[in-house]
Symmetry: C2
Subunit: 553 residues, 2 copies
Amino acid sequence: MRRIDLASAGFLLLEKRETPMHVGGINLFTLPEDADEQEFLTSLRTLLRESTEFRKPFGEYVVTGKSGLFWEKDEHIDMDYHVRHSALPSPGRYRELFALASRLHTTLLDRTRPLWELHIIEGLQNRQFAVYNKIHHAAIDGVGAMHITQAMCSEEPDGSPSYAPYSREAYEVYKQARFGNAPRSADPSKRDLRNVLEALKQQYDSSINLATAMRRFGLAFVGRSGNLAVPWHNVPKTSINTRVSGARRFVAQTFAFDRVKAVCKAMDATVNDIVLAMCAGALRRYLLSRDELPLHSLKAMAPVSLREEGDVDSSNAIGFITADMATNVYDPEKRLRTIQESMRAGKDLLRELSPAEGALFMQLTQLPALLTSILGLGSKFPAFSTVVSNVPGPRKPLYWQGARLDGIYPASIVFDGFAMNITLVSYHDQLDFGIVACRRSMPQIQRIIDHLEDSLAELEIVAGISGSGPRASDNRRGSRTPTKGKARTIGKAKTRAKVKTKATTKTKAKAPAKSTTAAKTKATAKAKTKTKTQAKRPVRKAAVKPKLGTPDR
Amino acid sequence: MRRIDLASAGFLLLEKRETPMHVGGINLFTLPEDADEQEFLTSLRTLLRESTEFRKPFGEYVVTGKSGLFWEKDEHIDMDYHVRHSALPSPGRYRELFALASRLHTTLLDRTRPLWELHIIEGLQNRQFAVYNKIHHAAIDGVGAMHITQAMCSEEPDGSPSYAPYSREAYEVYKQARFGNAPRSADPSKRDLRNVLEALKQQYDSSINLATAMRRFGLAFVGRSGNLAVPWHNVPKTSINTRVSGARRFVAQTFAFDRVKAVCKAMDATVNDIVLAMCAGALRRYLLSRDELPLHSLKAMAPVSLREEGDVDSSNAIGFITADMATNVYDPEKRLRTIQESMRAGKDLLRELSPAEGALFMQLTQLPALLTSILGLGSKFPAFSTVVSNVPGPRKPLYWQGARLDGIYPASIVFDGFAMNITLVSYHDQLDFGIVACRRSMPQIQRIIDHLEDSLAELEIVAGISGSGPRASDNRRGSRTPTKGKARTIGKAKTRAKVKTKATTKTKAKAPAKSTTAAKTKATAKAKTKTKTQAKRPVRKAAVKPKLGTPDR
């Protein structure tokens, strides 16, 4: 038996049938050139099912002891249960893949077994196949999941490690190759803070940093801490911030990393800043199209890793920064700057803390979120508006038993109070977005994918990268951007029309309006038409690889 | 809002993540001769998704009111969520179908939506396709499910009703066609007993029958009520009677109805008696092969319909008789007679009661089961050993939009205390068995299917129908029974050897035994070998149609 640390146990305690607490996603592969699909997938399944030794806690299940939750070894692990073979109905487009992933991501993991499932999915077009992973968040966080993907794959097309992704062997080989014999996280007790009280005791002598941080955090609630955004404070209520139902929708899309990097360079911002700005723009567009853009800005929970370099072992080593998404700001550049400042303030707060202090700070400041969630008040007092999680992934193209890894599309958690989660992975020359939402509160998350593209294009204009590109409407008809890093653009006029209206009349667009709101009415009508024709619309030819984004409906 | 009656509400209240309370199963079809698979399945999906008016409660979801649970109309029903399209991975055998059905039957229904899912499954061999249904037991019982299957199908190969199975139209047309304007269940208040107290009040004046029944029920616990078997009393503990985990295994098999009928006639027994005897023989074989046959007989819960003729409306109108399965009786005929007597005693008890009194009696006598289940004591004090549910199905071959219905394989519920459920449907000239078990406690339910065949063959010998058939071992090598109604037989010698040993030494077979237990040791060894070689064994050529029963492993 091993005690489950508090951060991980939280995900077990918070789990309800409407809010499963597993993470995972779709890894997309292309079969090796000469491989027979059936033979190849059968050999993968055999490889996966033959594991007998697992990295922790993939061979363990949860038991409730007197003093908390523990991992206990499963002596009769049923690999046929964990490793599954599924298929897509024809025609086997991404649309069918997303529909299946949505269903698989909806159901709870079996608590009487090790908390993971792996599905090999056949039936995709163009010699692709997919792997859907589902792992309880108590067992892994985003960075940990990336370590696993990297451990199972090889940078060589003909590399074929003889171990399964969750095996102890994969873990040992990977750790050795990547971090060698360097001292890993110095003091295990620092990583594994059992509970707040014990941690407070440990920290007693060095708690000056922590006290300062707590004080600044508190001041933010009364608006006296500069640009620091904090949970709960002025978090508006939108349709994204409701109680969630038990079913999910999953969609995914790839963006060229070069496009984002070019904007970063021109705007003097980090990748994470630009990603948050893309999401902020997309959220603003989504809420505008639904006539529910709130006066207060949306706040995003942006997880940051508290992992020390070389720590492959921790299940959960994450902290959270609250990003002010500036969704109430019309100007894209000003919006970006506001986001940047709030992120900088959040990072400054964490930077002064040691990893252990950081973990403790997170526990203290997240405690109220735990409480509102347990009390079922998450939708009444949302701590955040949404989650935008940026996970650094492999920097080189990877291969699994010779099959090229085409994309890593993460699927994460939603819960009462925020019905949508945007997680992305940087992989080689692409940014792979995976969006999960409550199926009932957000029936049209496919539109967020479209808005992300619009939002990136807008940032490119601001950055002066493609100021005079074709209008969005031209682009819809199929004009193609041949070079990577260049993007289709959206007509500035359209954006302005929408926003100007908002500024003059304050979002309430249901009643038909006269002269001044004419532009808005048009914009709304356009949005509605778009929704209806979405399914039929010709596939957009953006510079993405592979082409994802077919709606899950 | 409509109040949910107590019997149905029980299934909602008892539900946990380890014990979902939905029923359903696989309906197997063959595509019409000239149909294109994709076109045909697409048109089915469209037909199903276009429903807007539903029979109750298929358009309603559960809300918790102050005085109990209620059905409330779902104004935004998401048909893409309920009607799903799935596929089997190649090679698309029944083995893959059972694996998928096992997974689908494992997961909980979403409580925030109408409590049903329907999956159209493509990818089977021989132009077959399957429909997996999943409906909460609060919404339907076995007989009700049969009404739905019959309502959606036609007896004419070219009949193609233009409504979906759960539509209000299907329900109205079917009710009219089958029962015309005959007065349906006379007094709705009699069917819908709200709670025990209210019912007691109603029954106050006519409660003599009930008091007599309760008294006899009570006497059975002290062995003074003849052949009446009652729950809890002398229910042995076996590996079937444990706490269940959250995952299921599903297997199915068809038996020729004529074979069972022939035994009925020869033995002067009902179909249900013979079915119970088949199950009893199978259970005895299963437990013997695991060296855990208990001294006390297993008890089976045999649901009986309390529906009045023409009642298509009730969600749950079931009572339960406790059948003494006589698993401790060596002689197959004596075993059958013991089962018959206990069923007769149970029926006599119910016969004296009016349907309303019957329902009340059920509520009173099942109350302790509800309590042990809620208290989590179901596995410590099992009320029954297993469930054997015999649902009368359509008597003529049916077609759905021209596709022939090849079989109706039900999948029901297991819970703490009984980890296996055997449900069967009589359809035309076949008996379709569907067995659901906890995946962890009963890893080899495929063997129950084999044992059912052995057990039926044994009864045929007793009935003198095929007394001198080939030995089981010969049969294994592939000798075939060409005519329907004739069966492969099992060597009597083998059965004797096993049982004689038991009689002399009382089952404890782990230590190697000397002279007298030699036969047993051999039998055990044989059983073990059988387990190991099961997967490789050539498919048995019994007179079944279609051939099911490939193990789900």
